[in-house]
């Protein structure tokens, strides 16, 4: 094999230095009865054969489907520079920057990333990334338990149902409680959420835009939470933050979200990254790695992993989280994506998403028998009421090469005829018009 470079001569010399007769002798500390009973795997391949096999697998991955689906993961354009720069092996074959003098590249990039996340979310302190959007919401919930020393979180059921499942799982073992508040149509039931807050509540978790695409003002909810010394956690979609009020502006204490849409490929579910940011006074309760600025003995600026006394390798079972490896390279992609677009480009991109979705709303909403379910503002997703079962309509349109949306029946019993449609900047007017025609056809012919 080409990846173990030692020659028979090297191996002979090394064994002599060790004083062993054979490589097998080095495995002598393993009792014979513990040796592997089986190891049935295929023989190795050449690069050529391997790529043939992998291309065969990749040929069947839905690449020819036009996606009007989101559900937390979005088909956005990625500037070429993102792939090129993140493919620098100095970035991707390094590890956790525990030795800062030879890892200033990663450390400074993560510091810039943290700055970017703070500016996007309107927060003051970000960590260096979490695994994904769902686990970020769960970590925020755990963080609120630590800060308030309470055991109940209120979860708006218009938060992504996949994320809510993860939150429930994370809270389960800790005997903490997640109280779900049903939405009011396609909007968060703000009155219901406020009524649920009491002095036992650690936090209220909402999402902006929510799973149905609705964008709401959470300022009053934040005030009510703060009156009870509870926190407001807002899970947000970063592309929307180019246009929509940030969690910080809304009065949130913790902002989290799925970072995929910032320059990370769809890749059948990952790797992506989760982000989490908070007010400076809660910084010691953040989970995961944080990069901080400092100086060397000559006063030169440099960056290090900081506040490590929160983390598992120091605090063990008393750490703020068990997270060790994070999604550093994906966070780097997020940073480069944001810096590529810049201040104006990022706003323009958000506007374009909004404009396209508004156009799609008008066109699809005009299809016979279809109603728009969102009563207020939306960003690039919205919910349609169909005259037929949503799952059935989606399945029939998949046969025509279009993923028309996410049918809601599997997540919200009673909403079997509802469909969440996503329109990013990548969907063209022609594709939107075609979706309207296909819907008309499937519904009425």
């Amino acid at each position: 094999m080409g990846y173990c470079p030692n020659t028979p001569d090297d191996i002979r010399d090394m064994l002599a230095a060790i004083g062993a007769a054979s490589v097998e002798e080095l495995f002598a500390p393993i009792p014979a009865e513990l040796r592997a009973k089986s190891f049935e795997l295929p023989p190795g391949m050449s690069e050529l054969e391997l790529m043939r096999l992998m291309r065969e697998k990749a040929a069947s991955c839905g690449a020819d489907i036009t996606p009007f689906i989101g559900g937390g993961i979005y088909d956005h354009f990625i500037p070429a520079a993102v792939d090129h720069l993140a493919s620098r092996a100095e970035f991707y074959t390094a590890y956790t920057p525990y030795q800062p003098e030879c890892a200033q590249g990663t450390l400074q990039a993560l510091y810039e990333y943290q700055t970017t996340i703070c500016r996007l979310t309107g927060m003051e302190a970000s960590n260096a990334s979490l695994y994904d959007g769902g686990t970020a919401v769960a970590e925020a919930a755990l963080m609120s338990l630590r800060i308030t020393d309470r055991h109940k979180v209120i979860v708006d059921a218009s938060v992504n149902p996949l994320h809510r499942e993860i939150v429930t799982g994370y809270l389960h073992g800790l005997s903490a409680q997640a109280v779900q508040v049903a939405p009011d149509g396609c909007a968060s039931d703000l009155a219901g959420l406020m009524a649920a807050i009491d002095d036992e509540t650690a936090a209220v978790i909402v999402q902006s835009p929510n799973f149905f695409g609705s964008v709401q003002d959470f300022r009053e909810l934040a005030q009510k939470a703060h009156d009870h010394e509870a926190l407001l956690i807002v899970s947000c979609y970063p592309i929307a933050l180019g246009l929509v009020a940030s969690p910080g502006e809304m009065g949130a204490d913790i902002a989290v979200g799925e970072g995929q849409s910032l320059g990370n490929h769809l890749s059948f579910g990952g790797p992506y990254f989760g982000f989490i940011a908070t007010r400076k006074r809660f910084i010691r309760n953040l989970p995961g790695r944080i990069v901080g600025e400092t100086v060397d003995h000559q006063g030169r600026r440099g960056f290090v992993l900081t506040l490590q006394a929160r983390e598992q390798h120091i605090k063990r079972h008393k750490a703020t989280s068990n997270i060790c490896s994070n999604q550093s390279l994906c966070a780097l992609r997020g940073l480069i994506f944001c810096a590529s677009l810049g201040k104006k480009g990022f706003e323009d991109l958000a506007q374009l998403n909004y404009d396209k979705a508004q156009y799609a709303k008008s066109v699809l909403g005009a299809v016979r028998g279809i109603d728009l379910l969102n009563s207020g503002a939306t960003f690039n997703e919205f919910t349609l009421a169909l005259p037929k079962d949503g799952a059935e309509v989606v399945q029939r349109l998949l046969d025509k090469g279009v993923a028309a949306g996410v049918p809601l029946g599997q997540y919200y019993p009673g909403m079997e005829r509802a469909l969440v449609v996503t329109v990013t900047e990548k969907r063209t007017k022609d594709e939107i018009d075609r979706l309207a025609l296909l819907l008309e056809e499937v519904l009425w012919s």
């Binding site: 030692n6 230095a17 393993i30 839905g62 937390g72 993961i73 400074q108 769809l266 990952g270 944080i290």
Partner: protein, 479 residues
């Protein structure tokens, strides 16, 4: 180097946003509209490319430097597997969850399924889930599975998880996140968890024992089967932390030994890159009667050979959004196919040979607290150098000046001044010899000119950084 934000020039624009082919919409209502644009840098594409290219040059990495970071398995990441992992970039995961959508993503579903089967064979477990997104996430998922097992048996009194004091910090932290209290068992003079103390710690309130084998000292624990038996007698389950699996590929399967739950770090053993701290991937495997507690959903193979996504109603729920860090899993799958059975056995053999060679060559100058045949890594102590005022960190920083990434230092915690070296199988004798020369030189220097070691590193863009100041200032983003 300046920050990208400090290179920003007002009015400069970056990449062009796609043109619009739809009418401009009426604006969002004021109450939900952002007041000011996000203060992102305003730089041109060339500025951006130079900035990040030059930043990357301030890193040591496997592709540029020998990186014997103990416990992290910094092996070479083959380039063809990078290409393979990139083939699925445009595949939307939500497709798999749509009605009938699994038919459209048969390729990636096949990879999930086959990788799970391969990992089950490699580790000797019944079934595997690829959902956990990193090793620690796998640990937490595994402990949640164990909790579900005890609960299903109506065994509510178990509230402790036992870990040895040499364990990775993630073990106790993961068990605590799953709601358990931690009992730590000290290491015996022979280098493994003290068997007598472990026996004393075991009782019917213990839910699980978490172990790494080889342990963090790089030693294979000969009592491992006995530990499993004692745990099982007490009704507890055994958890295998697969961080050190690279040492035993094809030699030992944790499932054969008696472990009930394991996790595997694809970014360590199966050659996927470490990404400057992640992404990793931490699939877990379980024995037969624990399969029903695995997270939902599961990828199954139908009789006609097609793959489908199924709910797993008795499981612990969902631990991540979809099927795990898929593009990392695809790389690991490609790595296993590339190396094949013989190649994977060669991995463990050469990894163990390299580590023993390092140990043999360095033990004259560096204290070796447990002088016995090691597996894939060896742990020294800088205790002799401390007599001259030189610490493990000083040796580490000098290595940087000489172009080597330092080993892991100050871990495991049960060895004072620990220097933990894991060369991996992909390094040649010649590379290791060059590293050994510098280590020996550092030992000489500790006696003759310790000041030089205290000054190190002097060749890097910054010298030793003031970590206390960073923790005090808490400057974690620029204004």
């Amino acid at each position: 180097m300046e920050l990208i934000f400090e290179k920003s020039v007002s009015g400069r624009t970056g990449v062009r946003v796609p043109l619009s082919d739809v009418p401009k919409a009426a604006s969002l209502p004021d109450a939900v509209r952002r007041r000011e644009p996000v203060r992102l840098p305003e730089v041109g594409e060339l500025d951006l490319v130079r900035h990040y290219t030059n930043l990357s040059r301030r890193n040591f990495s496997v592709d540029t430097n020998f990186y014997p970071l103990g416990s992290c398995t910094m092996k070479y990441n083959t380039k063809v597997t990078e290409n393979a992992g990139g083939l699925f970039a445009s595949c939307h995961p939500m497709l798999a969850l749509l009605p009938g959508g699994d038919q459209l993503v048969q390729g990636p579903l096949a990879i999930v399924y086959e990788l799970e089967r391969q990992l089950a064979e490699i580790t000797g477990m019944e079934e595997v889930t690829t959902q956990p997104l990193a090793g620690a996430h796998g640990e937490m998922t595994g402990i949640m599975v164990i909790a579900a097992y005890h609960k299903a048996r109506g065994d509510a009194k178990r509230k402790y998880v036992i870990v040895p004091d040499s364990s990775h910090g993630t073990n106790p932290a993961s068990a605590a996140m799953a709601g358990y209290e931690i009992v730590t068992v000290p290491t015996a003079p022979y280098g493994d968890m003290d068997l007598d103390l472990f026996r004393q710690a075991m009782n019917d309130e213990v839910a699980a024992v978490m172990l790494t084998c080889p342990n963090t000292l790089g030693l294979f624990n000969p009592h491992i089967a006995e530990i499993c038996a004692i745990a099982h007698e007490g009704g507890a389950l055994t958890y295998y932390d697969g961080a050190n699996l690279n040492a035993i590929l094809g030699k030992v399967r944790p499932g054969d030994v008696g472990f009930d739950v394991i996790h595997v770090n694809l970014h360590k053993t199966f050659g996927t890159p470490h990404g400057g701290g992640g992404p990793g991937s931490g699939p877990i495997g379980v024995r037969g009667d624990l399969v029903r507690f695995l997270p939902t959903p599961r990828v199954v193979r139908r009789e006609d050979g097609s793959y489908a996504v199924e709910d797993h109603p008795e499981g612990i729920g969902r631990v991540s959004d979809f099927f795990g860090n898929f593009a990392i899993m695809a790389r690991a799958y490609a790595y296993i196919m590339l190396l094949g059975r013989e190649g994977l056995i060669e991995v463990s053999e050469q990894a163990v040979l390299n580590a023993n060679y390092m140990m043999a060559r360095l033990k004259e100058e560096y204290e070796l607290p447990f002088d016995q045949t090691c597996m894939h890594e060896c742990v020294f102590s800088a205790s002799r150098q401390v007599e001259n005022g030189v610490h493990a960190i000083d040796v580490a920083k000098y290595l940087i000046d000489r172009g080597f990434h330092p080993p892991t230092v100050y871990f495991p915690l049960n060895v004072k001044e620990a220097i933990m070296i894991e060369p991996t199988e992909t390094e040649s004798k010649q590379t290791m010899d060059a590293f050994i020369e510098v280590m020996l030189e550092a030992a000489r220097m500790a006696r003759e000119n310790p000041g030089r070691l205290h000054e190190a590193p002097v060749t890097t863009p910054v010298g030793r950084l003031d970590e206390t100041r960073a923790a005090r200032m808490q400057q974690v983003c620029c204004e």
